[in-house]
């Protein structure tokens, strides 16, 4: 899942302050699941902004709408009827959603209300942690199902650095040492010898190194 967090109120206020009629657009996918940009957060932000500007003496109109998925043109199309009453769009979706809205409605300024953080999993209610860096060439098969690229602070591919202390990373004791996790799993799986293989330098072309990526499924694209 893509995770995000609401931007600091001050920044959001700053970005929309020139506008009086704001269309606040949430998304019912990832950002709902990570409680950053679903209907509820949209409602809270709308209320907060209305109060702020009312307090300042120049009230704003805020229209709330939460799309099923803000990164699909068909859903984004649903905003059309509302657009001409809006001076600006404030998006609570991840960067993908905000950009899709901007792409579709060229004449409208679009501002992000959340910071898109990472691809992660929820560890428990209210806690999400990074799990994947989208390198485009998955190594989990040789790292016992724990990704050192996403989860080692130095993305080391050949084992723990000298800073690994009792299972934690030197960078922050709240971070598990990815290589400790890998090693524990290898032991559990009886595959210790796997560790001995030197993993060669990674080809980053499948990742960001190769520039913006896209996937084309010929059979579907046609």
């Amino acid at each position: 899942m893509i995770t995000a967090e609401r931007k600091p109120m001050e920044e959001i206020i700053g970005s929309v302050s020139p506008y009086r009629r704001i269309l606040l657009v949430g998304c019912n996918e990832c950002v709902t699941v990570c409680a950053a940009g679903g209907r509820k957060e949209v409602g809270l932000l709308a209320s907060a902004l209305k109060m702020h500007f009312a307090k300042e003496g120049n009230p704003v109109e805020i229209e709330e709408v939460t799309l099923e998925r803000q990164c699909d043109p068909e859903y984004v199309e649903e905003l059309l009827p509302r657009m001409d009453q809006a001076d600006a769009v404030l998006s609570m979706a991840c960067g993908c959603g905000a950009q899709e809205v901007a792409r579709r409605y060229k004449e409208k300024p679009v501002f992000p209300a959340v910071n898109t953080r990472f691809m992660g999993a929820s560890e428990r209610q209210g806690v999400w942690a990074e799990r994947c860096a989208g390198c485009g060439n998955c190594v989990l098969g040789i790292t016992a199902g724990v990704c050192p690229i996403a989860r080692c602070s130095k993305q080391l591919l050949n084992g723990p650095c000298g800073g690994s202390t009792s299972g934690k990373c030197e960078v922050d004791p709240d971070i598990d040492c990815a290589w400790q996790l890998i090693w524990d799993r290898l032991k559990a799986l009886g595959m210790q010898e796997r560790y001995e293989d030197n993993i060669p330098a990674k080809d980053w072309r499948t990742g960001r190194g190769g520039g913006p990526r896209r996937i084309v499924r010929e059979d579907l694209a046609s």
Partner: protein, 147 residues
């Protein structure tokens, strides 16, 4: 300007706080009439949005009142409510309203005095804080609009 009479919304859980308020009644205790109670099954039912909307619509203060810790009829609704109130206070701080207009209290069904005391003290506090700026703001806004 004549004396400021704040409007205060109190979300009270059915099993403790609301009962305590009734209790204050049967004990004939006095507290300011500014406090208007909205009954909810559990303080855990009070949505952050409800609190925000109350202020947005012009309430000067909001009380969320639940059971004593450990007494929640639904296990931990009151604790969740307390966390939620904290987060709302933070948002209010961020938009320059100040978080003090919202507060969580806990009490048992029998604590009529405590309810009356809470209502009285909170009302005094809000009087000190003055009117909800959202209202004055709008006035001022219209004023500006006028001239």
């Amino acid at each position: 300007m004549e004396t400021f009479e704040p409007v205060i919304v109190a979300f009270c859980c059915h099993y403790c706080a609301y009962t305590a308020a009734d209790m204050a009644g049967s004990m004939r205790l006095h507290y300011p009439p500014n406090v208007k109670i909205i009954r909810v099954p559990c303080s855990g039912k009070v949505d952050a949005i409800h609190i925000m909307k109350a202020l947005e619509k012009g309430a000067d203060g909001v009380i969320v009142a639940g059971c004593l810790e450990g007494d929640c009829h639904f296990k931990n609704g009151n604790i969740r409510a307390a966390h939620r109130v904290d987060s709302v206070r933070k948002i209010l701080g961020d938009i320059g309203m100040g978080g003090d207009r919202v507060e969580m209290f806990t009490m048992s069904a029998g604590m009529g005095e405590r309810f009356a005391l809470v209502a009285t003290e909170f009302t005094e506090k809000i009087c000190k804080l003055g009117a909800n700026p959202v209202k004055s703001g709008t006035d001022m806004g219209m004023h500006q609009a006028a001239c």
